[in-house]
Amino acid sequence: MRHRSLLILTSVLTTGALTLTACGSRDEGKGSGDNAGGTTTVVIGVDAPLTGSLSALGQGIKNSVDLAVQTANKNKEVPGVTFKIEALDDQAVPASGQANATKLVGNKDVLGVVGPLNSGVSQQMQGVFSSANLAQVSPANTNPSLSQGDNWGKGEFKRPFKTYFRTAATDVVQGKFAAQYLFKDAGKKKVYVVDDKQTYGAGLAAIFTDEFKRLGGQVVGTDHVTVKETDFSSTADKVKSSGADSVYFGGQYPEGGLLSDQIKKTGAKVPVMGGDGIYDPAFISASAEANDGDLATSIGYPVEKLDTAKKFIENYKAAGYKDPYAAYGGYSYDAGWAIIQAVKAVVAANNGKLPEDARAKVTEALGKVSFDGVTGKVSFDEFGDTTNKQLTVYKVEGGKWIDVKSDTFNQ
């Protein structure tokens, strides 16, 4: 009997051990001390999944912030200040994000942080940054409670952390926009809702469900999938036998791509729609079955179509980064640039030097920044949310995401 219990013990141990390994980090651009070569060094922290299945998005975030920093240094955007990035890997694991946040807070040269990608990771980082008065700008978090408090759904808005800002619009905007498109433009009336139980996915699916029902649509069934699992055939068969004419998926592309593929394989010819979490080439490429007709909403207008973004795309290509800027490149660049602008304002107000309480001052200045960024006008409202509420619906056609409708959301 001793060996049986050893078996159980070891399986528990392995799970723990493998979770711990997720804490490793790569790419540590160490911030050097002050006054290196007559200038002050300001470090902008970056936290994103740089490895693992979401690394395609994370690398795009890191590179785009790096580009913003390079541009600022080249143009001498803030006289006497040289910017650097320190990029840490969170592997989309909340505990790793928290450890990274502590590490960034410990480096006194860090005056602002861009990241993370995942709302669930952000929840664990906000408190750490808040107690250190360190500003955080996420290019990709969309869960409303991060900026509007847990009771936003009941109409009570309370900003929980004054250090938290984001350049991405929230899921309230995105979920409602998706429901309206699916019901009105695509004419679907019976939807099956699946989510991945994560902060982002479950939140988005709930907002979508409410709006879809309010419009008069019918939710014929719900199910949940587990992140990193790959066999969803039982769920797919439930979708088929429910008679749904469409599926809404709250989650990320690794599970979304497989789910869509396995639903199509049952013979149910229904489109899968999701949020910006599935808007990635990997959603299509990872499964060979045609995803044509699947839909995704994403924040902002297509970067390629914005005049303001042409220069960003040009510079990104010229810089020769290995990975593409992906879905959040433009927002990451703007997030980095917002921190640079805040530092600029703080330095200008203090006779060209960084003040003693630079972190608190930068946080304060960040609330007031306003500039024309890659994704349009960049400024933050009283909750730290972006004032830019543009959205686009994309559709898979011939193995590519094609934008089908762009609009500015107003309830």
């Binding site: 009997m1 001793r2 060996h3 049986r4 050893l6 078996l7 070891t10 399986s11 141990l13 392995t14 799970t15 051990a17 493998l18 390994t21 490895t51 693992g52 299945s53 690394s55 395609a56 699946v194 139980k197 719900t222 199910d223 949940h224 999938v225 587990t226 990193k228 699992e229 790959t230 066999d231 969803f232 055939s233 039982s234 769920t235 068969d237 439930k238 036998s241 690794p254 791509g257 497989l258 593929d261 394989k265 049952t266 013979g267 990997a282 490429s285 990872a286 499964s287 060979a288 079955e289």
Partner: protein, 310 residues
């Protein structure tokens, strides 16, 4: 309940996959009492080996020609890594306390994942794997079998049959049984136990490669992390069926697969259980089943009572 045959078929195909991987856990445990936690990664490497073989083939090769070659290529990769792991990581620790090789296996598992992540081109995210073209087989109105599922449902029994014959009839197979029963006496009888142990690792790895090809053909993608959860499930299947027993591994896999797919489909229909059903809870129900079985039969479904090792 009209979709019951379909859900059973889904569970059977998933279970056959678990079973093929579980063979690797059970054979190694049966002979050296080592839980080879790196076996999930051996499975993953089998998948990447098969994909490499496929990319090396001239484009336009029919999948029917490619599949045997892919299995071969995957098996070469996985067997090479598994036997190297045995030779350089586990053999030096054979006399060491039980926990040392176990921790080594965990370390090896992490190392293998990171190596593939780092060095296989484009493996930092999921990479596409060839898929069967064409519609699923429509058996009856309520039952269709995906081509990839049919593939594994046909292949798994064949593999089991071959393994069963090998273990019971061949000289090496009987030597393997002898080593499992009592390694020291087997050695005295002139059996090269080191060779037998390597063979157990190799057979497990080859089965994992077959499973990896079936998995890739079904999902259309493989990734460097795929061995972790599947490995854990397969290990569970091996324990459920009775670890050390090769038929137990397959039975355990099938029971686990069917339990998962039925719990996804039907638990939520039970009045009052709506919150506890669906894909979110399938793993919970699978492990509830495991605990129930182990309470009644600590040796697993087909396990034999091994008094001397308890």
């Amino acid at each position: 309940m009209h979709e019951l045959p379909q859900q059973l078929a889904n569970g059977l195909a998933l279970g056959a996959l678990y079973g093929l991987i579980a063979i690797g856990y059970t054979m190694v445990y049966g002979i050296v009492q080592l839980i080879n936690f790196a076996h999930g990664e051996i499975f993953m490497i089998g998948g990447f080996g098969a994909l490499t073989t496929y990319t090396a083939l001239p484009s336009g090769t029919s999948l029917l020609v490619a599949i045997p070659l892919m299995i071969l290529g995957g098996a070469i990769a996985s067997v090479a890594v598994a036997t190297a792991a045995e030779r350089f990581a586990y053999r030096p620790l054979r006399g060491a306390p039980r926990l040392a090789p176990l921790i080594t296996a965990i370390g090896l598992s992490i190392a293998l994942q990171q190596l593939v992540w780092q060095f296989y081109p484009d493996a930092k995210k999921a990479v596409s794997f060839p898929e069967f073209k064409g519609e699923a087989f429509q058996i009856t109105d309520g039952l269709q079998i995906q081509r990839a599922d049919a593939f594994i449902l046909a292949l798994a029994p064949l593999c089991m049959l071959a393994l069963g014959l090998f273990v019971s009839k061949s000289r090496s197979g009987r030597a393997m049984q002898a080593t499992a029963q009592d390694p020291d006496t087997a050695k005295l009888m002139g059996i090269n136990t080191d060779r037998i142990i390597v063979m157990a690792f190799a057979i497990g790895a080859a089965f994992a490669a077959v499973a990896a090809v079936a998995y890739g053909l079904d999902k259309g993608q493989i990734n460097f992390e795929m061995g972790f959860i599947l490995g854990l499930k397969a290990f569970t299947a091996a324990v459920l069926g009775g670890i050390g027993n090769i038929y137990g591994a397959m039975v355990g896999g099938v029971v686990l697969g069917i339990a998962e797919s039925l719990s996804i489909a039907y638990i939520e229909d039970i009045p009052g259980m709506q919150q506890l059903g669906g894909g979110a809870w399938s793993n919970v129900w699978a492990f509830v089943l495991l605990i129930l079985v182990l309470l009644v039969r600590p040796q697993g479904l087909l396990g034999e009572r091994v008094a001397d090792r308890a």
